[in-house]
């Protein structure tokens, strides 16, 4: 890859990741102004689902960065990983907020009941809670301060992604094609990591013995 392209990579990915949000705001504008729009009969629900879908997609894209970087030997790709992760968090937060505002109308009692009673909600909620420390510690300063513990903490992203997929499986009523596709992508990305990890381990073992 040319360096010129690499320097535009970050703004490019930023704009691309922002597109769904821009589209959504445009649709909301149309809805609010009573113009023809693509939000259907129940725009609130459409918005919640839209944000949920993009939260999951950004999450999987984030998890794809490292494998792609290594497989393609495209080092600069590492620079968009944090940004994609933050988008995953942003869309998840938007998903939750729109659910709370537009569906539950800020009835916090009801939110409590829903979280306790409905497995797919508490799984989603747990996933969101898991993303919060990751987002808060995503800056360079925290990275430097936390050192090895930063890496450890950010391993949390894997169980969080698994919870998100569980959320999707549990809320699906009838056709599992979509959750299945997302799960295959997730399992491939995780399989790659396990493979790498097992490749590395014996060497590390020997190195330890040697030292």
């Amino acid at each position: 890859m040319t360096t010129r392209f690499s320097s535009t990579l970050k703004p490019l990915v930023f704009c691309l990741s922002l597109l769904p949000l821009v589209y959504l705001l445009w649709q909301v504008y149309l809805v609010v102004n009573g113009q023809e729009n693509g939000m259907g009969a129940d725009p609130a629900k459409t918005i919640v689902q839209f944000n949920g879908d993009w939260a999951l997609r950004c999450m999987l894209l984030t998890l794809a960065v490292t494998p792609l970087r290594q497989l393609l030997g495209w080092v600069e790709l590492a620079r968009v990983r944090r940004m994609l992760g933050l988008f995953a968090f942003t869309y998840a937060l938007a998903h939750f907020t729109t659910y709370l505002a537009l569906i539950l109308e800020f009835e916090f009692n009801e939110l409590g009941t829903e979280i306790v009673k409905r497995p797919y909600i508490w799984v989603g909620f747990t996933a969101l809670c898991g993303l919060v420390p990751l987002a808060l510690t995503s800056n360079h300063l925290m990275m430097r301060l936390m050192k090895r513990r930063w890496r450890l903490l950010h391993q949390l992203v894997y169980p969080v992604a698994a919870l998100q997929l569980t959320h999707l499986f549990w809320l699906t009523r009838s056709d599992y094609t979509e959750p299945f596709i997302y799960s295959v992508v997730f399992l491939l990305l995780m399989g790659y990591r396990v493979f790498k990890w097992r490749q590395r381990r014996p060497k590390m073992g020997r190195a330890e013995v040697a030292s």
Binding site: A44, E105, R118
Partner: protein, 344 residues
């Protein structure tokens, strides 16, 4: 497909349309006359038998989909008359009733059926009648519908997903249809089945569908014979759009929407209780009865309230859900003595 000659209808029973129309007028005139006798002092102008009592809700836009329905059916539907089952609530607009559908055979998103069913072939159409009845066999849709005068009923529709609509259906009482086949004393239940045609119905091709197709639904015979149970063949004065279950479907307003099975090809009278499709796929979440009941929460959705469509962004139009969707007067007696928490 071999169509058994229906021994139910003798040629003499097949009424030429002109006579049929005349008879309608006569019956209607008689009805109005009786009404006028009971209500002296009402304007005599209302006695003009050719005038409908109140015109039914009609869609007058430029949607072309109902051209898929045969002419005779469109004409029959257009002659529907109002009935006494007219919910006193604003109807959900046509555009929403026909683009916000759960019809998983055509996809799981609400907009999928409108998109994927647009050229769904519903003519010719046969319905098989089977099981514990004196008259069984395959019948052409025309023969199924012929003896029935169509009426409009405006019913509330409550989906288990906690949204609701108000829909002006055109159709006729299910009991009138079932009785023609003379169910025997062994007929304790009725099972209905939707068309199975993966070529036309992409949802049936999915390898990851939790529902076993063909879609099946069932009713106890007394539920099926209840006066509210309705066979829908039209909507807003139009032949039923494919995404809403053309050419004929059930409309059971006191039950969650999924009981109102669409695009029916088979009706079977049974001695035993059938298992419905959702019940089979997930018995903890979906029962056989599926009566609208705000007190029994579904594992996914609280059923205490509903969002009446159309919703607007900042006012979700939420309202409390009524027991039996507000139709308790007509149907509560069917469930007397039952524990509706167990028989959900």
């Amino acid at each position: 497909m071999l169509i058994k000659k229906p021994d139910a209808f003798k040629p003499s029973e097949i009424t030429p349309e002109a006579v049929y129309l005349q008879r309608r007028t006569f019956i209607q005139g008689a009805g109005l006359g009786l009404g006028a006798m009971l209500l002296p002092g009402m304007g005599m102008a209302a006695l003009d038998a050719n005038q409908p009592i109140k015109d039914i809700a009609r869609y007058t836009g430029d949607w072309q989909g109902s051209t898929l329905a045969p002419d005779w059916l469109r004409q029959k539907v257009s002659q529907a008359r109002p009935s006494r089952h007219l919910a006193q609530e604003p109807s959900t607009p046509w555009d929403i009733v026909t683009t916000y559908n759960n019809f998983y055979e055509f996809g799981t998103d609400k907009g999928d059926p409108a998109e994927h069913a647009s050229d769904f072939k519903t003519d010719p159409w046969q319905v098989e009648i089977a099981g514990q009845a004196e008259i069984t066999g395959s019948f052409n849709l025309e023969d199924i519908l012929k003896p029935h005068d169509l009426e409009e009923r405006i019913y509330r529709l409550r989906c288990v997903e906690a949204w609701s609509m108000v829909v002006p259906w055109v159709g006729f009482p299910l009991a009138d249809l079932l009785k023609r086949f003379k169910p025997t004393s062994k007929a304790k239940y009725v099972r209905f089945e939707t068309l199975f045609d993966p070529k036309q119905m992409p949802g049936q091709r999915s390898r990851f569908a939790a529902l076993d197709y063909p879609y099946r639904e069932g009713l106890r015979i007394d539920e099926a014979m209840n006066e509210l149970a309705f066979v829908g063949v039209g909507l807003y004065g139009n032949a039923m759009p494919p995404q809403n279950g053309a050419p004929l479907r059930l409309v059971l307003p006191w039950k969650y929407g999924f009981k109102s099975i669409k695009s029916i090809v088979k009706i079977e009278f049974l001695e035993y209780r059938p298992v419905s499709s959702w019940e089979r796929s997930n018995p903890k979440e979906y029962g056989f009865y599926a009566n609208v009941n705000p007190q029994v929460s579904h594992p996914r959705w609280s059923q205490a309230s509903e969002r009446r469509l159309p919703t607007s962004l900042f006012s979700p139009n939420r309202r409390p859900t009524l027991m039996f969707n507000g139709y308790g007067d007509e149907v509560a007696h069917l469930y007397a003595g039952m524990n509706l928490r167990n028989d959900y």
